[in-house]
């Protein structure tokens, strides 16, 4: 659906995006994740045809973006960062203008989008008077008015309060069932919550590109299993668990009246069955056992700080 081949863009001497390539297929929510200034916005602007790459090619839906910009733009819906709308217009007038520009004749599309994005009650308000959450939703309605196959959203939830973030995410997930969505964010929990696939971008190049669950599971240090056991002291527990094959280390963790432990084990061995048998064999009580996923937070930092990929 979308294919970017070694696209590069510089501003003066700064390389904002440095030969980035990726492929995005139909019907996925892809998250472009990276620290501020990593080149996310520049990448999205090139995908939408607003910026022209210095080198490299972009094809969207089979059309080369430089040769057929109009066709590509018909396929795309785009919401730039912080929803820059015309502040002096009424919401309805604005959407009406967008409909004109997109060549949409049925005005009932505006009502449908108003319904979906929850902006029916502000249709006759001035865009300048809207709260940030409503502005964002009007921006979203704008980007979806022509029912595009691909939706490009630049930081769709930035600056919103937690309730608004959840609402916007729900809308995005709802649309993501049928459409291809690319969104950028620097908030990690956001991609964990919404995206099927993550492209981590750092200093203009791709640092990781995989399905969300694979990225969550990746990591060199192996798994961490946290357990909470009753009727056993930590010394006793760690001594026994430490003997299990595959266990690298055991450390104490707060457990209140119970005994808590964090077990670090090799990446390719699952020691959970052994731990269970051990605990039940000793007649201890297992209250809790959980395999911790290495948080994106950690992976993100590993990949974007001092990764030497500049």
């Amino acid at each position: 659906m979308i294919r970017a081949e070694s696209i590069t863009k510089s501003y003066g001497t700064v390389r904002a995006v440095d030969s980035v390539s990726f492929n995005i297929s139909m019907g996925n929510i892809t998250g472009l994740l990276g620290p501020n200034g990593a080149g996310k916005t520049t990448t999205l602007r090139m995908l939408t045809g607003y910026l022209k790459p210095d080198s490299g090619t972009i094809t969207v839906g089979g059309y080369n973006i430089e040769e057929n910009p109009i066709e590509v733009k018909k396929l795309l819906g785009y919401l730039p960062e912080s929803a820059p709308l015309y502040g002096d217009m009424l919401v309805y007038d604005y959407l009406n203008f967008v409909a004109d520009m997109r060549g949409i004749e049925e005005r009932k599309r505006i009502d449908e989008m108003g319904e979906l994005c929850g902006i029916r009650e502000v249709m006759h308000m001035n865009i300048n008077e809207l709260s940030k959450g409503y502005r964002q939703r009007v921006g979203l309605a704008q980007s979806m008015l022509h029912d595009p196959e691909i939706l490009v959203l630049d930081e769709p939830t930035s600056g919103l309060d937690p309730n608004q973030i959840i609402e916007i995410r729900n809308i995005i997930r709802e649309i993501g069932k049928k459409k291809t969505i690319i969104l950028s964010t620097h908030i990690l929990s956001e991609v964990e919550a919404t995206c099927d696939r993550i492209i981590i971008i750092s200093r203009g190049s791709i640092a990781a590109d995989d399905r969300t669950e694979n990225i969550q599971l990746s990591g060199k240090s192996g798994h961490i299993i946290s357990i909470l056991v009753g009727e056993a002291g930590f010394g006793e527990l760690s001594g026994e668990i430490g003997k299990l094959p595959g266990v690298i280390s055991v450390s104490e963790s707060p457990g209140g009246a119970l005994t808590g432990a964090m077990v670090t084990c090799g990446a390719h061995i699952d020691v959970r069955p052994e731990i269970f048998r051990l605990v039940s064999g000793k007649n201890w009580v297992l209250y809790e056992m959980k395999q911790e996923q290495k948080s994106l937070e950690k992976i993100f930092r590993d990949l974007t700080i001092g990764g030497g990929n500049a």
């Binding site: 066709e71 002096d88 967008v98 004109d100 997109r102 060549g103």
Partner: protein, 237 residues
Amino acid sequence: MRNSQSPAFSIARRELKAYFTGPIAYIVITIFLIITGVLFFNNFFLFNQAEMRNLFQLLPFMFTFAAPAVTMRLFSEERYSGSFEILMTFPVSTLQVVIGKFIAAMVFLMVMITPTLVYLFTILLVGRPDMGPIIGGYAGAILLGGASASVGLLTSAASKNQIVALMTGFALNFFLWLLGKIVIYLPDRLAFLQYLSTDFHFRNISRGVIDLRDIIYFLSIIALSILVTVKIIDERR
């Protein structure tokens, strides 16, 4: 896309609405009418002539400033606020966008000079003016307005800052106007420079002689400015 209207007209309509919902339109029109009114009636009764030459002598100079004041926001504001990003990702060509904004500026300038028709009616009440120069004057005003506006559009596309757009637009227009005025101080072989001047061609038309050369001059300025504007926008990508 055989829709009810072309994108250029949608853009023009939106821009015109924006002009008249904000204060800028009323400020520009008021200042324009006050200055032309004062200068027009200043010695109107002194000469006691039923003619509008006074007004038309003034227009080229007035437009050097008024036109960029009208056009300064057309691109600068959008680029500053970021709404330009949405506009340019609509399925429209850069040329359509530029033409849409140009039409808006043209219509605005015509609205701006329309109240001066009151002077015409006043004159018609008290005398029998020669209609040739008046018709030529208004036709010339439209052409001149178009040329000044297209230059203003160009400078608006070149800067994110409206004030910079206004001042450079004014400087360019003023230069085109000045060429016709300074020729008398220049040696004869530089006299051809006056053919590049807006004032020179406007004076011809407003004498009531509609010459193809003058029309072509203004249309070339408009076409050239619009093409350069498109180029500036495309190069900035």
